[in-house]
Structure formats: C-alpha cells, structure tokens
Subunit: 238 residues, 2 copies
C-alpha cells in the first residue's frame, strides 16, 4: 500500500458544510486522505465542515479548493462519477464493489483515480458526468434512490477499504492458459470417443459441452490441470 | 421478499436526534422499515430526528420506543451487535457482508433478525452486547475505528440490500453430498493404483490429497459428479 496513490475524493459544488465534514470523517475511517472541493456554495474554509469532520479535521484543513471541475481533474487518470440516475451515456456503469475492485487495480498500475460526488440537491450535472470515465450507481430501494453525499461516500470509502484489504490478503491464482485446456480436451475427447463414453452421436455435442464447463468451473492452475491430464492418461493406458 | 420479515434496527440509548433521523433515512434507501429505540437521551418524539430523516420520516413516526433492551429484543430470534472493539466474548464475530448474507438466510428460515447499534459517545455496553447472538465489526483504518451510528447503519443497510438482491438473483447450486464424493474417490483411487499413476508410495498421500482438493474445488453438483464418474469408469473399462 505504501507506494500506491490512494483514490482522491472530489465534491462538486457541495452545499452543506456538515456534509463536507461527514465525507471527510468517512474518508478518515476508511483510510482515504485527499479531498478536493469544486466551488463550494458557502465558500471556504467552512467551520461547519470542520466541526462535523471529527477525526477527519486534517483532511478538511488539507482539502484543495478549485473553481472548476476540469482543474480538479487535471492530474486524474480515471474518474468515477457517483449518480443514482441513468444518464444514457456510453460509459461503463458499475456497482460500488466493482468500482472499488477496479480502483484498486488501477492505482496499482500507477493511475491516479478519483471518486466524484455532486451537490446535495440535484446531484451531478450531465456536463460533470461527461468528464468522468465511468459511472458508479449504488443499488437502492427503487422508490427512494437518493442517498446524500455523506451516505454515498460512506459506501464507496467502505467498499474501497474492503477491496484493498482483500487484495493485500489474496494470493493470486492464475488459471491454466486456454492452450493447455485445448490440449487436455482434445486428448480427453478422443479417449472418451474410443472408450464408447458418448453412446449417442446426437447427444454428444451437448454432453461434451457440459463436461467441458464442469472441468472449467474449477479454474484450475496449470500444475493442477497437468495432474488431471496425468490421471486421464494413466487410466487410458491401463 | 414479500413474505419475509425484514431485519429490525435497534438503537440503544441514542443521543442526537439527527443521528436517529440519518439512520431512518439510510433504512429507507435500502428497503428496511422497522426501527426500535431504547431509552433515547432526548425523549421521544424528537423533531431533529424527523427533520433529518427526509423520505424516511414515516419510519420515525412508526418507530417503537422501549425502556429497556430486553423489551426491545423480546420477539427477536437473532441479534447482531455492531461494535468496533474486541469484546473478548465467546460469540461469532462477522464482517458486514458475512452478517448480511447470514441475515438473509435467517429471515428466509422465518427468524426475526435485528441489528443493534449503541450510543454515539461510548458505543454498546458489554451488558448490551451480551444480549446479542453475534458481533459485527466494520473493518476500518486501525487508527480511526469509530464510525458514528449513521455511518455504521449505512454500511449495514447497504450490505443487507446487496445480499438480498444477490439472493433473489441466484439459482442455488447444491454441491454433491459427501457420500457421493467418497464413492467417487474410492473408485478413482483404486483405478489409479491399478494403472500405476502413483509411481511412488511415499509421494502418494500428498499427491492424492492434492488431486482430491482439485476435484472438490469445482463444487460439482450431484449430476456433474456422476458425469465425471462416468468418464473415469469409461476410460478404465477401455
């Protein structure tokens, strides 16, 4: 984690200082630190933001304020826009967990990633969303879709924290490459043909498809697949 | 979902009306409805709670107030206590996602499930936690573990909503029972012994363990396992 740049949070035209403070608090709880604020309605600094931030007060003190969104995005490689509404834009639209997993891999690749939240009353304008690379929508009760920015920030910071923890804990399992599967399946199909496993030509296609998906479900590594290959060869030789 | 009793949220000795309202708002966003309040510091009703609840105001109106926690828990079968601290109690301790998945299965089995949150300043007392069946701890930055109740409620309501959505979408895959695996492994082990697969008795134990875990990783259903069994038998016959 040490060398990796963590995601930045960008609040676009936030209205209530209390909400800015609550976002900073959630950021601190979940290990994020960089806050950018675009054109805050009540100016800056804002005592209400500081009061609400609790242990996130230093995030408020270090927050950078910008006049326009393009300035706040200048050094960002990939920005996720949080929005409840379907924007009918041709952008990837992901869940919070998908977005968080993506953010972890992007930061590992050296990208500077941002999460962008809109003003309380109206959310992000289409023009704001157009400046993002992807949309995150938090699934909610259909009738009451509007989360406030502090709530959305809790969900996203929480998911990011879980994603980077899981990433640290996980040992990557690399599945066997397709070429090895093809080799394995070619051998097995022929062996089964010769042994009379496919009693009926008509049913063979479907049965053989099912057998292949069953084997592939296990996402075997190359060494595991070779062991399985060894088993098939050994049984056949006998 | 219609016939299932959704989880109840219990706030124990909450202090700020604003936080009670924020919890109700989060509940509404994520489809929960029943709120119970034990000994609220500022009495009840509380105008600040109503103001903060936004579209969750009816949850505030319908909230039931209790004098003691045992009364609020009387009809509850399984209660999760939210706490950041390690209580050294012999209770299951789960993550929000694990807790949410469990809650979904418990409610499906007809259990009335509750999520219990403590007062803002001090959190739940040990005596409160002792009345729960399990502990949920939200993983956070180690230095800043304290989430306020509204933030914790957002995380838990969010995870519950995801868990029940996934549950609705999923077609349960029932893995083959152990007896079928034992039968399959007994046959395969003998066939491999006879075919000379285990060249070396010393290495057999380890290799055979690996082979079994490889097969079991796929969590095959009974029909899939039978197909695999058929393959092994067919190859051996030849």
């Amino acid at each position: 984690m040490n060398q990796i740049i963590k995601p930045t949070v960008i609040l676009v035209r936030p209205q209530m200082g209390e909400n800015i403070g609550a976002v900073a608090r959630a950021m601190r709880n979940f290990g994020l630190a960089e806050l950018r604020i675009v054109a805050p309605r009540d100016g800056w600094p804002n005592p209400a933001a500081e009061a609400m931030a609790a242990h996130g007060a230093d995030i408020i003190h270090q927050a950078k304020v910008y006049t326009t969104l393009p300035e706040a995005l200048a050094d960002v490689h990939y920005c996720y826009a949080l929005t409840a509404r379907d924007r009918r834009m041709s952008k990837p639209c992901v869940t919070p967990k998908e977005g968080a997993d993506e953010m972890v891999s992007r930061t590992q690749q050296g990208q500077k990633v941002a999460l962008m939240f809109g003003p309380e009353r109206s959310g992000l304008e289409n023009e704001d969303v157009a400046q993002s690379q992807a949309i995150v929508t938090i699934p909610t009760d259909e009738q009451y879709a509007s989360l406030n920015i502090a709530q959305s920030a809790v969900v996203m910071c929480y998911e990011w924290f879980q994603a980077q923890r899981e990433d640290e804990a996980s040992v990557p399992r690399i599945p066997a490459p397709q070429a090895e599967w093809q080799h394995f399946f070619a051998f097995t199909e022929q062996a089964l043909d010769e042994s009379g496993f496919f009693k009926d030509d008509a049913k063979k296609t479907r049965l053989w498809q099912n057998v292949r998906s069953t084997f592939q479900r296990a996402e075997l590594t190359a060494p595991e697949l070779r062991t399985l290959f060894g088993i098939m060869q050994s049984l056949r030789r006998k």
